[in-house]
Structure formats: structure tokens, C-alpha cells
Amino acid sequence: MVQPALEWQAGTVTAIRPETRQTKSFTFALPKWMAHRPGQHYDVRLTAPDGYRTERSYSIASPPEHVGELELSVELIPDGEVSPYLHDVLMLGDQLEMRGPIGGYFVWDVAIGGPLLLVGGGSGVVPLMAMLRHRAAQHATLPARLLYSSRSADDVIYRDELESLAASDPTFALFYTFTREPPVGWTGYRRRIDGAMLGEVIKPFDKRARVYVCGPTLLVEAVANALVQMELPIEQIRTERFGPTGA
């Protein structure tokens, strides 16, 4: 697929929605909007009055079916350079320098097919959500599962949307694991993702699964190693790592 050269453009904020205590979703209208592939990201650039510039990459949360706009979900990193600006300063109608869509590696669309296993940790769920939203917009029925690791139920991004999708779509299954504070009475997973957990979630798909893993580096490493030990063909595994100060 050939893309025209990427150029910076000014996106205008059209909506801001809090997702969790730490995460907000920002919707931007773009003058040169281009359909993206779920999993791609945009670079965001801030320029200080003295000319100092800094850039960050943020995964696109919205599906390409959402024409003309795109949504980025951003986790607040308290001592970060960019996310505190986005969270605390950016307002409706403001403009931001952006370029994208970027990346051809960590992408999935219905043409690639399934069965689809998505594994996310924390804000690593964002590009996976774009895949699920695209799958829903296409009314695809290929089986999909999401294994999503969060510290607590309050940290689950897109919780209502995920749970209503799981309730209404029999071909989609949602698995949470809570690593710090499971809800009272929780009977599901309550530990970091490990090989045993992955083995249970992947079981109906077996070695046919196409797996997308996104999250902190250590989670991605653990999951990728476990998948390789299960002898899942390596070309069916795509990973995206966030550094610890990814935002």
C-alpha cells in the first residue's frame, strides 16, 4: 500500500471524554483526514515558544469507518512532557500538530481475518479497541477474544462499550485480569498474564489464532515468549510495546 508522504497538519479538538482517572479520549477533526488501518498511530508534536519541540506517538482508538475524525486515547503520565498538556491544557476547539496515519506492522483489518486474539495491558488496549470497533462496524462474525490486564476495575478503559459488545455479540468474548485490586467478589483472573492464562483464553482458536499484543514492554515480552512456547507460528503474532514513560 502506497501512502503519500506524511505531513504535519493541524487537528482541531471536537470532543474530550474522560475514560478513567488516568485516561482521556480526544476526538480531532483533520483537514486532510485519511482512512487508517486499525492499529496505526498518529504522531503528535508540541512546540514551545522558544522553539523546543517534542513528539509522541498515540494509537488511534476510532475505526476507519469514523470518517473525517479520529480519536486518540491518552494515559496521563504525571511527569511526562506531552500527556499532561493534553490532559490539563487542551480544550475543545484547540488545535494540535499531528501526522499520520503511521505504521504498517501492527495492523489488523477484517481482510486479514481471524480467529483474532487481542491481548492488552493498561492503555495498550487502545489500538486493540480500534480493531474491535472496525470489526463491529463491518458486522464481521469472525471469532474474537480480548484478554485485558488492568490494575483494578476502575482502570478499565472503554469498559461499558466492551461489556455491551460482549453481551450483544456471541462471537466476541471478553476476559479481564486484575493485577492489584480485583472487584469484591471477583472470580476471574487476578494475576499478571502468564502462559496458563493465555493457554485457556486461546484454547478454542488453538494455533490458528492471529494474536495482537500491546502493552508495557514486560507484559509484551512475557506474552510473546509464552506464545512462542505454545508453538504458535511467529508470523501470526504482532506486538507493540509501550515504554514505561510512553506518553
Binding site: V2, L6, S57, G104, T217, E240, R241, G243, G246
Partner: protein, 96 residues
């Protein structure tokens, strides 16, 4: 300790995908599916899957198999330096 250093570096690592925008700017095309052959171990990897260290003053891309540095990128106000002697070659589809 060596172990702590190793863990910290691993924790700071992201993928080549994280610098896809910068690579795209330099090469004028998406480079994440371009294959780099490591000059150290001769294995192939998509550039989007290289190990990327982006928190320094420049970017270092390493082979996911042997961790040999494949490429380094530094941008100054007047120039972009791309050193890639760790790559035996890059293989990409021709643009129609």
C-alpha cells in the same frame, strides 16, 4: 548490577513501530514492513519489529534476535544522520 541494568534497558525498549513516523519522514514511505537483515546474525526482521531505544538524544534500532545495533538516527537542527552499518541490507517492495 548488570541484571538491573538489563532490566531497565528492557523496560525502556519499544518497537521500531514507535519511530515509524520519523522513518517515514526520512525515507518518504512507510518503512515498518521493510525487512532489515542483521549484519551480525543474518536474520531478517521487519523494521516495525526491531527493538527501539528512543529515550536518548538519538534513536537506536537493534536486531530482535541478537540485539546487534542495526541503525542509529540522530537529528540536529541542520541535518539528519542515519548510520546503518548493522544492516546487511534493507529489502522493500518497489513503489508502483
Amino acid at each position: 548490577m548488570d541484571n538491573d541494568d538489563g532490566d531497565m534497558n528492557t523496560a525502556l525498549m519499544v518497537d521500531g513501530n514507535a519511530v515509524a513516523g520519523q522513518l517515514g519522514q526520512i525515507f518518504g514511505r512507510d518503512m515498518t514492513m521493510t525487512v532489515a537483515r542483521c549484519a551480525g546474525c543474518a536474520r531478517d526482521a521487519a523494521m516495525g519489529a526491531l527493538l527501539a531505544f528512543i529515550r536518548g538524544p538519538g534513536v537506536v534500532l537493534r536486531c530482535p534476535a541478537c540485539q546487534n545495533p542495526i541503525a542509529r538516527i540522530v537529528e540536529t537542527p541542520t541535518a539528519i544522520y542515519l548510520e546503518a552499518r548493522g544492516a546487511a541490507y534493507l529489502r522493500m517492495a518497489p513503489q508502483p
